[in-house]
């Protein structure tokens, strides 16, 4: 079984986001970038399945500018066998990304595609579901547990009401929740080995798809700030303030 895992390079989750003064976006220059956190869970899960002898090959794919390749290199260090970097410039919408991955799926013919449930930059939560629609494959989104069966997966999904379990026939798409597993760190020897693993570079123009953005970002601004609060000295003062000042009790 072959697993394709999609990874995205985003601003590191610990970085305090700053909005550009001209309203054109957020500051990304000289800002620490990392792999989108749930994409790390996607890679980890694929590697675990391979270690359990249920997968034979893991291909990591990213779509984006030159530096996006770092995320593929990291996936290789954790256990992916080969990488694919589809080179693009400028704004990419989830619909465009899913069309690009669809092309790669047609070429690589994986049995499963894993990715994070949401990217923490645009917070869209779309790509997995869109890819699944384009391929007409089953989808299991927000996965917190995956059991590999003969020709299917049994997936536990985190939903608002609690948990849901679905069985999806292979080939299928899974989008991963942070609770799916604990991503490992790459060891130094594996980081060195990963440098020798192949990364295929593909120019998006060679795929013959239209990735022109459909949504214009007119303005990016800071959210309204909360006015500074106060520290209370003790619990009695807290309850008194909530009762008489905030009037919420």
């Amino acid at each position: 079984m072959k697993i394709l895992v999609a990874v995205k390079r985003v601003i590191d989750y610990n970085v305090q986001i700053r909005v550009k003064e001209d309203g054109s976006g957020v500051v990304t220059d000289n800002v620490k970038m990392s792999t989108n956190p749930p994409d790390d869970n996607a890679i980890e899960e694929a590697v675990k399945i391979k270690e359990a002898g249920k997968a034979t090959e893991i291909v990591a794919i990213t779509v984006g500018e030159d530096k996006a390749q770092e995320t593929v290199r990291k996936a290789l260090a954790v256990g992916a066998d080969k990488g694919i970097h589809v080179k693009t410039e400028g704004v990419l919408e989830p619909l465009a990304v899913s069309k690009i991955i669809q092309k790669i799926v047609e070429k690589e013919k994986p049995d499963l595609v894993f990715m994070g449930k949401q990217a923490i930059d645009d917070d869209c939560n779309q790509t997995g579901q869109m890819l699944s629609a384009l391929l007409n494959w089953p989808q299991a989104t927000f996965a917190s547990n995956i059991e590999v069966k003969d020709n299917s997966l049994e997936v536990t999904r985190e939903i608002d009401e609690g948990l849901e379990t679905v069985e999806i026939n292979i080939p299928a798409i899974v989008t991963c929740d942070l609770r799916l597993n604990e991503p490992r760190y790459a060891s130094l020897p594996n980081i060195m080995k990963a440098k020798k693993k192949p990364i295929e570079e593909i120019n998006v123009s060679d795929l013959g798809i239209d990735i022109t953005p459909r949504v214009q970002q007119l303005k990016v601004e800071e959210p309204p700030k909360r006015k500074a609060g106060i520290k209370v000295a003790n619990v009695a003062e807290l309850v008194q303030k909530l009762k008489n000042e905030a009037k919420v009790l």
Binding site: M130, R226, G229, I230, V248
Partner: protein, 317 residues
């Protein structure tokens, strides 16, 4: 053209956020039609037809719609789409799972999780866990929009007299099989719509200690929330998680106990009207959004808090 609202329901009742999504839909265009897809869902369809802003209901029933799988729902919605300029539903796990599948079939770039309708093609949405707001304009002919339910008031649940039409079911998608749903039943208010939320974090130190949170919540008639750290540590189940990848809540009062306030948690609660933080680390980031901060050991503060609450004659519920 009209707006198509996708109703979320459990075959008996509408899920509450359908009412918030209906409000958002009506701000895009007053001609709101609502589709309800399910099995034996007549009562829910009836309730949908009574929503003040809904002009027409389309009810689609089939056995394979009983469990709301996106693979089954999407083609049925796509079939209706030609009559509509917009398709709208909530950005909760139901809508997040479903809408991108609809959008991809329609070759439309979805706009997720909007918090404001600026015009029928322009919307405000949070990005980077709410650390920035983006104004976006979609140029797609058909617009697929998910709305952040807590940013729109629920519409009136009565007063509407929409007609209910039968819609056509689409063939079953056989490669996905629903197995089970484990819903956490509770008499408490729903986390997403509660007036008061009491949340615990890693500072609670154990699942057992979470009963302190339960006591406060019982006293206040509140819903129980949690940080991701607390859910990951197994103190409480995932349906309580508040944050960027959990639920977004906007209660009148949010009480964060033993929660440090990671960016990702703040994303889910910082629009609350009044925020209280109880934490023994005075430097914890949660204090930066708290209206009232109490720097204290929560294991001393919670019993005192209960005592003070007991002294109050009345507590609003």
């Amino acid at each position: 053209m009209s707006v198509l609202l996708i109703a979320e329901h459990n075959n008996k009742d509408l899920r509450p956020f359908t009412l918030n999504a209906a409000t958002a839909a009506s701000q895009i265009d007053t001609d709101v039609h609502a589709v309800i897809i399910g099995q034996n869902s007549e009562t829910a369809a009836k309730k949908l037809s009574e929503l003040s802003v809904v002009k027409k209901v389309i009810s689609i029933e089939a056995p394979h719609y009983e469990n709301f799988t996106a693979e089954n729902f999407a083609p049925a919605i796509v079939k209706l789409a030609e009559n509509y300029s917009h398709i709208v539903c909530s950005a909760n796990t139901f809508g997040k799972n479903l809408m991108p599948r609809v959008a991809a079939h329609l070759d439309t770039s979805q706009v997720s999780d909007i918090i404001k309708v600026i015009s029928p093609d322009t919307f405000l949405r949070p990005i980077y866990a709410g650390n920035a707001f983006a104004t976006v304009k979609t140029n797609d002919l058909k617009k697929c929009i998910t709305i952040r339910p807590t940013s729109f008031e629920p519409c009136e649940s009565s007063g509407g007299t929409a007609t209910i039409e039968k819609g056509e079911a689409v063939e079953e998608f056989s490669n996905t099989k629903f197995i089970k749903r484990e819903e956490v039943k509770s008499d408490r208010p729903e986390l997403g719509t509660a007036r008061i939320v009491v949340s615990g974090g890693r500072g609670m130190q154990s699942g057992d200690n979470f009963k302190l949170i339960t006591e406060v919540a019982d006293k206040l008639g509140a819903a129980i929330g949690a940080s991701r750290a607390a859910v990951d540590a197994g103190y409480i189940s995932n349906d309580h998680q508040v944050g960027q990848t959990g639920k977004v809540v906007v209660p009148d009062l949010y009480i964060a106990i033993g929660i440090s306030g990671a960016i990702q948690h703040l994303a889910g609660m910082k629009e609350s009207k009044v925020i209280v933080a109880i934490n023994k680390d005075g430097e914890a980031p949660i204090f930066s959004v708290a209206d009232y901060g109490l720097e204290a050991d929560l294991f001393e503060a919670i019993p005192q808090f209960m005592e003070e609450l007991n002294k109050l004659n009345t507590i609003q519920k």
